[in-house]
């Protein structure tokens, strides 16, 4: 089985926000929720870099460690998913997440958090694959269709890579060796406890 990961090559990201838009469209993500976002570091300064960030599907996910109702589970592909029927919208996963991935619609009492929503690595939830119920709650299940996440698939500069961790790490390593520089695999050490060494 593959161990699915994301890798954003910040030296290629042109901050076009297409991954953000594609994600919202593919999953019909509601207003106010962004499963993926692009953060620009050193904006307007020399050495500016943009990084596309979403749920990194961590090894030993901290969100799962703090969830009071144990609604998280990790698939055979290493994707961290959650069950919205069990989620109570307490917000603990967002306190624990190093990447700011969990998002909440403001639908609960006092206009506070509803059920958590986050990147599913385009692989839905616990409902039957590609069912309507799954689509309504979690969006499209591209992995079940044999496709990779749309954000990475349509990235125009191939900055955002998705797929088996070993394969995308190798692609990134080759790039860094060929062009002679690289700002690193953003978030890897935090998410997976290891980074891509060149």
């Amino acid at each position: 089985m593959a161990r699915m990961k994301f890798l954003c090559d910040a030296d290629r990201c042109i901050e076009c926000q297409a991954c953000v838009t594609a994600c919202k469209n593919e999953h019909e993500v509601p207003w106010g929720i962004n499963r993926r976002r692009v953060v620009t570091i050193n904006d307007g300064l020399p050495g500016e870099r943009s990084v596309s960030m979403a749920c990194m599907h961590c090894t030993d996910a901290p969100c799962a460690a703090v969830c009071p109702v144990n609604c998280f589970y990790t698939t055979d592909d290493g994707v961290v998913l959650h069950n919205k029927d069990t989620c109570i919208g307490c917000g603990y996963c967002s306190y624990a997440c190093p990447f700011g991935a969990p998002q909440y619609p403001r639908t609960a009492n006092f206009g506070t958090r509803g059920k958590m929503d986050k990147c599913t690595y385009c692989s839905g939830g616990p409902e039957p694959d590609m069912s309507q119920a799954e689509y309504v709650k979690y969006g499209a299940n591209r992995l079940a269709e044999g496709k990779l996440p749309l954000c990475a698939e349509m990235c125009s500069t191939k900055s955002l890579l998705a797929g088996d961790g070993d394969i995308i790490a190798e692609i990134y390593r080759e790039r860094v060796v060929t062009r002679g520089y690289g700002s690193g695999a953003w978030g890897w050490r935090t998410a997976y406890g290891e980074t891509v060494t060149v």
């Binding site: 976002r37 460690a65 917000g91 603990y92 624990a96 978030g187």
Partner: protein
């Protein structure tokens, strides 16, 4: 401006750009000052986070990576869980030992049959509103900490999810009557709970809790009750403040503040739950005659004389003026 001068300006601009272009590129070398994640974290030190600008109208979206958040996951996922279990089970164990050694504290002179009004209806209303909401808040809160290890295996994920969702709603809504009742007991009882020299005497004698026949004098509230009062008031205020902060997370600055308020909330809740368990014990099975104070509001005169001698001296003359103490058993 004539068309010729416009043309000249355009030409001049184009000329300038053709010279300035390569120079500008040479100044900003994308490879020369490439930020690397490793270097950034090294510069930030521990507790640092990488953040930048995002186009999303959400101030938190600019936070890119904050590894420190994982520390809170360990604190919440294991440390606070252990502390909560130890606080609650530890207090229950202590009380069990106390009960085995001391037994039920009886009215030594026996019930007199005459009663004195100890708490009027408004005091009882405030107390029971506070008590009922606290119990629901404590149980639903405890459920968030230890429910998934204790309750979930028993009833399954679906039922536990539904239960916890209702628990969250109950927790959010009952927090408000709790706060109102807390304010009520402060107003009603704060005058009787100001510490004085008498309390020191009471504490030195252990409140007579551990020895039969020892009854240090006390006014309306003895030092033990004052400790309960101040624990509930200060702990309740801390819980209310942190709880309201957690209820409106959008008003806070992000994960660091949420983590801070959640940790304080959980620690105070564990401590106060343990204290309240002791309070429930001594107010019910632990002491004969104590429950009546909050039940009917009328306590037996002998109970009152033993535990609140100075208070009886204060109130008895007034009660006599109003027609004497009520006799609940006929004098045969």
């Amino acid at each position: 401006m004539t068309s010729i001068s416009r043309l000249l300006t355009a030409f001049g601009l184009a000329l300038m750009l053709s010279f300035a272009g390569p120079a500008a590129q040479a100044q900003v070398n994308p490879t020369g000052s490439s930020v690397t994640e490793d270097a950034l974290f090294e510069a930030l030190g521990s507790g640092g986070m990488v953040s930048g600008r995002a186009t999303i109208p959400d101030p938190e979206a600019g936070m890119l990576i904050k590894p420190e958040n994982k520390d809170w996951a360990v604190l919440q996922g294991s440390t606070l869980q252990t502390l909560s279990i130890v606080a609650v089970l530890g207090m229950l164990a202590l009380l069990a030992v106390f009960y085995l050694l001391r037994g039920r504290i009886r009215i030594e002179a026996g019930p007199s049959g005459r009663t004195i009004l100890r708490f009027n209806w408004i005091e009882r209303f405030a107390h029971w509103t506070l008590a009922a909401t606290f119990i629901v808040l404590a149980l639903t809160g405890l459920n968030l900490i230890i429910g998934r290890t204790i309750v979930m295996p028993l009833i399954g994920e679906n039922a536990f999810g539904t239960l916890s969702a209702w628990g969250k709603i109950a927790h959010n809504f009952l927090a408000w009557p709790f706060m109102v009742a807390l304010a009520m007991i402060v107003i009603l009882w704060i005058v009787h709970n100001i510490p004085n020299r008498l309390d020191w005497e009471w504490l030195k004698l252990g409140g007579g809790l551990f020895k039969k026949g020892v009854h240090p004098p006390a006014k309306k509230f003895n030092a033990g009750q004052k400790i309960i009062f101040w624990s509930v008031v200060l702990g309740g205020a801390a819980l209310s403040w942190t709880g309201v902060m957690l209820m409106f997370p959008g008003n806070l600055a992000g994960p660091a503040e949420w983590q801070f308020y959640q940790t304080i909330h959980a620690l105070v809740a564990a401590g106060l739950s343990a204290i309240v368990i002791a309070h429930i014990y001594i107010g019910s099975v632990g002491m004969e005659g104590a429950f009546d104070a909050m039940g009917s509001g009328e306590v037996d005169e002998n109970w009152a004389k033993e535990h609140h001698a100075l208070w009886v001296e204060e109130v008895k003359p007034k009660a006599l003026e109003r027609g004497g103490p009520k006799v609940t058993t006929p004098a045969e």
